[in-house]
Symmetry: D3
């Protein structure tokens, strides 16, 4: 199986980290490769960034279709370009939000999403309503760190733990979902810290959830429905 990771940003400083992280979650026989955008933004933290990233993502989706990959992971929790992508490729495509949150639904009643900045909260709440699963989202919170500052692992874990503990003890969250695909490699440790503090609450890593989700879809032999994702009519496009 061949999974293509589209890191929907410009600049390739993060790409090796992301690819190796994805590969770690993937099954042994899954081939993983990763690409960045030729046009887009340095990170996605607003509707504005999402909109600017979309054409570059779709360029890469078209290439993935040509390369006949089995599945595509657009590595961003805002699911940028995901629905447009499904219109033009016959393979499962997910971002970070959908697989992580849907997985979480099978683990506890209310999902608590912890993301980076307040800027993205309205966007994530819009996604929850769009997907009609908002009644199961107990809280959405931020650690107030920009995507490009997440490499400070200690601070990241400390802030995540603070928010997770508060969300759990106030009864707002039964499952924690890391709300940014840039929060790499911390889910297990956060889960352990919570357990050590007496809170046996699962923590879902969005990258891991996306990779296993895509592998499941490929093994199930399913691709996007063509009654929801109709192929775009031919026309002049110069975007």
């Amino acid at each position: 199986m061949h999974i293509r990771v589209i890191l929907p940003i410009i600049g390739d400083s993060l790409i090796d980290h992301v690819r190796s992280e994805v590969a770690e979650w993937a099954a042994p026989d899954t081939k993983v490769d990763a690409v960045v955008l030729e046009r887009g933004t340095a990170s996605i933290e607003s509707e504005y960034d999402e909109a600017l990233a979309a054409p570059g993502i779709l360029d890469q989706i078209a290439r993935a279709a040509e390369d006949d990959v089995d599945a595509v992971f657009i590595s961003c929790f805002g699911d940028p370009g995901v629905h447009a992508a499904r219109e033009i490729i016959d393979a499962p495509v997910v971002g970070g939000f959908e697989p992580a949150v849907l997985t979480a639904l099978s683990l506890g009643e209310h999902v608590g999403i912890i993301t980076v900045l307040p800027n993205v909260l309205p966007m994530l709440r819009s996604l929850a309503r769009r997907y009609a699963i908002q009644d199961r989202i107990g809280t959405m919170r931020v650690i107030d760190m920009p995507v490009l500052g997440l490499e400070d692992r200690d601070l990241l874990l400390q802030r995540l733990e603070e928010q997770a503990v508060d969300a759990i003890t106030s009864g707002e969250a039964d499952v924690i979902v890391l709300g940014c695909t840039g929060m790499l490699g911390v889910a297990a440790e956060l889960q352990e810290r919570l357990a050590a503090a007496g809170m046996k609450v699962p923590v879902v890593d969005p990258t891991g959830a996306a990779v296993t989700w895509l592998e499941s879809c490929v093994r199930l032999g399913v691709t996007p429905s063509r009654t929801t994702y109709l192929p775009p009519p031919a026309k002049d496009r110069s975007a």
Copy 2:
């Protein structure tokens, strides 16, 4: 008052028609000008088209902000780029969906939207859920004509009437909203035809609803909330 119309397509064959139509709905002292995109697609009939159009729309939003316009109408029923736009301009911005449907809510219980092609239905239903007003949408239907074929006014009116009559008599719609801003200048006649057939049901023109909505917002002195539409953080963007 100065309203800028962004026709979110490439090619300017429609721009005069749109500008004059908008001007007709506008108040006498409202200045209306219209622009098209420098990058985008020939029409918007899919999530794919919307995604490709968004950066070109945001180019024009930035220009509108520089030009200090009072309000912006992105003339497409799918509300493309609307939420991203609100992040970067201190003036009311609407597409076609939101003002038409919200206006319709004050006229009858269930709104019936009649749009062009099946391709856009999932997108419009996603908007309705995103805006959390889906319980008042009684039906969404299509006339099965592409945006660029709407100039056949007789056929357009005939198809609209067929769908409207069916929606009303089956109890699915109490107000009709024309679901494409390319359906110019037919709302009043459709309303008359329905009345002549014994159905006194209002028909909302999305262009008219958008223009009057923006004028209202300007007169009310309101602009997008900065707790929902936070200004995007500065970063490298090459989209």
Copy 3:
């Protein structure tokens, strides 16, 4: 265009203030006149008051229909008699709630309504559910001042600011709607005070929203749907 304002109370001490305020929001060529009730209550602050006011409101609606006005504003945030009125007049009719809240939906994610007394909160929440827009209402709060005590402008603004600041900083409101049509002439100043305190959040005046809403409807050529608002069958009525 001729808009009739029905101030749904007995006693005409407020009528000049209301009429001039409405006229200020109205377009230059809109004629505004205002009437009070011949039977009703001194103010509306309960379901009980609303029920007692309704027949007097409908008397005035009948007169407005005879006078062939173009639109009617029932100047009360509880929308008293609005739905009954739409059954008997072929012109747009709104109260204060519907146009203000629907306008607010286009400005931010969650609407915060600040009204007078706790007595009216259940009534307003019932309206929100009736209109099926409750998921976008983030909070409803009171300043604990009766309608007939709102003339103390300083206190009114102080209390509104307290509630608005608290609603915004706690993340419950992105747009403020003044929840009583008796809160005249304070929206702009409240908006400025919030901006000065670092909260760029729009404040919607219900009187202004109603007037511009009605003007929009008249310009759009739409009137209440006769499949939702069926004409009442003839019968003996001695109310």
Copy 4:
């Protein structure tokens, strides 16, 4: 126990029938008396009628409070004046909709309401949304007979059976609620006819449901909550 029935219409031609029907549903030791309105309409078939009836209903509620009755049944399926009434009397008050529909919820998944005229459907759907139980209402239908024509028992039963059979066989209703308190004395026979046709589906009589509901509330010692139904502040009222 003393239950007061308020028949919310003018003219007393129906009062004996209603009182005896209520008495039949009541427990042996329940005292039942019935009154009509001094001001109101001949029947209630629109928001307009409801609005005109409300002050006359509240007159009778005030009298019921003076008479220290234990509970009040406002005998109309549109629940006219019910919420205003609860603000001014310390005794349970119901109309026809609430007890019948809530009772039905314990008998099957989806409730089918069969009422008189299309005019009242939007009003009943508004009630269902206001009470936030709309997701359990499978269908609302009409027999197209006015309230004052229901005395043709054969025709009434035939029309009810037609609608009930259609609602059940199409999977829209698991429980039938008679949607007009003027449909007296036919629930049992309708239920038998349906059973004879192979549909073991309960039929809820709104008068019976209201009477037993009120008796239950009195026996439970509960009255309207004063945090929802606050006493109206004193003021000038001349309605």
Copy 5:
């Protein structure tokens, strides 16, 4: 009328108390008897307990059907076995949740449920969603006492009062429902204490609500719908 109470636990130490309490709520001419389970658990405080209790409950339902009782009360607030029971008996069956909460809906806007342990909260919230009435539940809270510790009446009342006062003053509850059928004989006193503290808020006893609910259903002549509760097909069963 003959009501059978199924106390869905093993061991009969509580049965006399429950039977006499039920008898006190019942009408004078209602015969009440009570049974416990031959297989089950000592109390129900988890999904696990509910699952283990269900077959024993259904044994007793089968016996109740043979005994031709008129109605069955499964005396537990989690409604264990209720829906399965309705499939196999032609008589009204309720647990504690449904009648108490539906009764409460007619008394105030938001229901506050106060139950025993955190363990049962997800189960009760699942019931509320299953019944599609969750939007009217303002809060669910616990007193942190196990079912088998409720005999300490003073402590029980003190804890209930604490939670009720907090729920009411924070605006989360307008009606209190006791969320465990083991909280016997305290509703009236709790209601008095709240009134003495200035909160005229009704308190619904789930046992009383269930008994009067069942009596009402019997008097109304209604039994479970056979389109929702279809009789189970014959097959090998050795549970």
Copy 6:
């Protein structure tokens, strides 16, 4: 990885088929074993059957916990015993409904579930509401074949195709979920038949979805949340 399949019925005639089917979906290095119940019913087609099966399922869950399996699949689309099971084992547990339907949500807008008999529809709709995902379920339909008659593969496929085609062409379903885990080995062929008929719509096999779901959860290192699924307090249990 070790997945235990609990076939929640008595009698082992189906167990080999189920085990081999599960093994086929599983990853190469996943160990699969399967057990049946020692007490229960021959198939599950009602709430009654579910209730009777639950204790036998929980017996097997306890054994699975002792055997330290990594995950448990309760092979029935009604998710019997799933929530109780999660309270007593520290490993992911799913039935057929949850993983199949959640997987489907990522493939198209509206899910169409095709199950066996009308008896189970209310139960499945209750699950959808309980999980708060009902707004994405477009239709639930039956093929009117009992679970124990599904071995007629031709008839099964024909009936499934009929229902699927009708659901898709009427716009009610964009993704098909097979609504019975007894419908083994037909998803791929149904999907092909639909594609051959011009409907490129994914078909989700509930067994495959459950197995890959569990494998994903194990790889993600997540287990049931202990704030939703609290361990049952110790007590006397003789069920």
